[in-house]
């Protein structure tokens, strides 16, 4: 006998990460890509920016605290630092975490390539809206400059289910009339 315990859906709140990847330009900043990831409150967002010399993968997570939200980001960065004596590329791996607190609908500016403020940056707005129930995560990403390698993904942590297994012993659990007619119980003795 199996019994499942699945947590009930809480009040529906839908989280939306709205992002724009912007590059500085001489006249006005240029939007390279824009998109949004939405889903239940535990939805994370993975943003990947890749070039010949650097690769940045950032996993954003939110923790709502009242009217504010804690935005955490795990950065996985690979920078090309040169070539080995045999001519193969040498990469530098770096992993670190950043956390900021902001109000809902505020704009956070992420500088994935460093605090020197050079190169592209990402504008991120966190929105929440009440929904009738929990719906699937959704993602949309529009890369304006197709020569760039950008990716945006929704990441959902796996749901946990509590499964209880009860073993029923035939000799004590079922009446004699059942055991006589049941091949499984008679085989079990």
């Amino acid at each position: 006998m199996l019994s499942f315990t699945i947590p009930m859906q809480g009040p529906g709140t839908r989280l939306t990460y709205r992002i724009r990847v912007i590059e500085p330009a001489a006249v006005a900043p240029r939007i390279l890509a824009s998109g949004a990831v939405s889903g239940p409150l535990d939805t994370d967002m993975r943003l990947t920016l890749r070039s010949d010399s650097v690769e940045v993968e950032a996993l954003f997570q939110v923790t709502p605290i009242g009217d504010t939200v804690n935005l955490g980001a795990e950065f996985f960065t690979k920078r090309r630092v040169g070539r080995s004596r045999r001519g193969l590329p040498v990469w530098e791996d770096d992993t670190y975490r950043r956390v900021v607190r902001l109000a809902w609908n505020d704009t956070a500016r992420v500088y994935p390539f460093g605090s020197s403020r050079r190169g592209a940056w990402v504008e991120l707005i966190l929105e929440r809206a009440f929904a009738g129930g929990e719906a699937r995560p959704a993602e949309e990403f529009d890369v304006v400059d197709t020569t760039r390698d950008f990716r945006l993904e929704a990441v959902v942590r796996p749901r946990r289910a509590h499964v209880v297994l009860n073993r029923l012993v035939p000799s004590t659990s079922f009446p004699k009339s059942h055991r006589a007619s049941c091949s499984w119980c008679s085989a079990a003795g």
Binding site: A73, T77, A108, Y111
Partner: protein, 116 residues
């Protein structure tokens, strides 16, 4: 056709002033200089240059241009000093900047989040 001949005589003049010509060659050169104003002028110029070099070396009455003398011990010492300086500079640069990669501090190359 006269230029190659003059070039050859100029080489001979140089060798004569260095004392590297045989008597026969010196006689031939003297004979040519007696008839060639161009080569005679070149020889005079060469001599003036050598006098100037001898004066700058502090020996205006020298018979030949004084040449610097490199002693093997001094050469070895300077090579050792240059190697030592190179090794020290390399060690210092490695301590300061490490291996490959930019010299910028790590935090400057890391991403940041700024709230507006």
């Amino acid at each position: 056709m006269t230029e190659p001949i003059h070039d050859q005589w100029l080489v001979q003049i140089d060798a004569e002033l260095d004392g590297e010509l045989s008597l026969v060659e010196r006689a031939a050169l003297a004979k040519h200089l007696a008839t060639c104003v161009h080569c005679a002028g070149a020889r005079a110029s060469q001599l003036e240059v050598r006098v100037a070099l001898a004066r700058s070396a502090g020996n205006p009455h020298a018979f030949v241009v004084p040449r610097p003398v490199i002693r093997p011990g001094t050469l070895t010492l300077w090579v050792a000093i240059a190697l030592g300086i190179g090794l020290l500079a390399g060690w210092g640069a490695h301590q300061r900047w490490g291996g490959p990669g930019s010299g910028a501090p790590l935090e400057e190359t890391r991403g940041t989040i700024v709230v507006h």
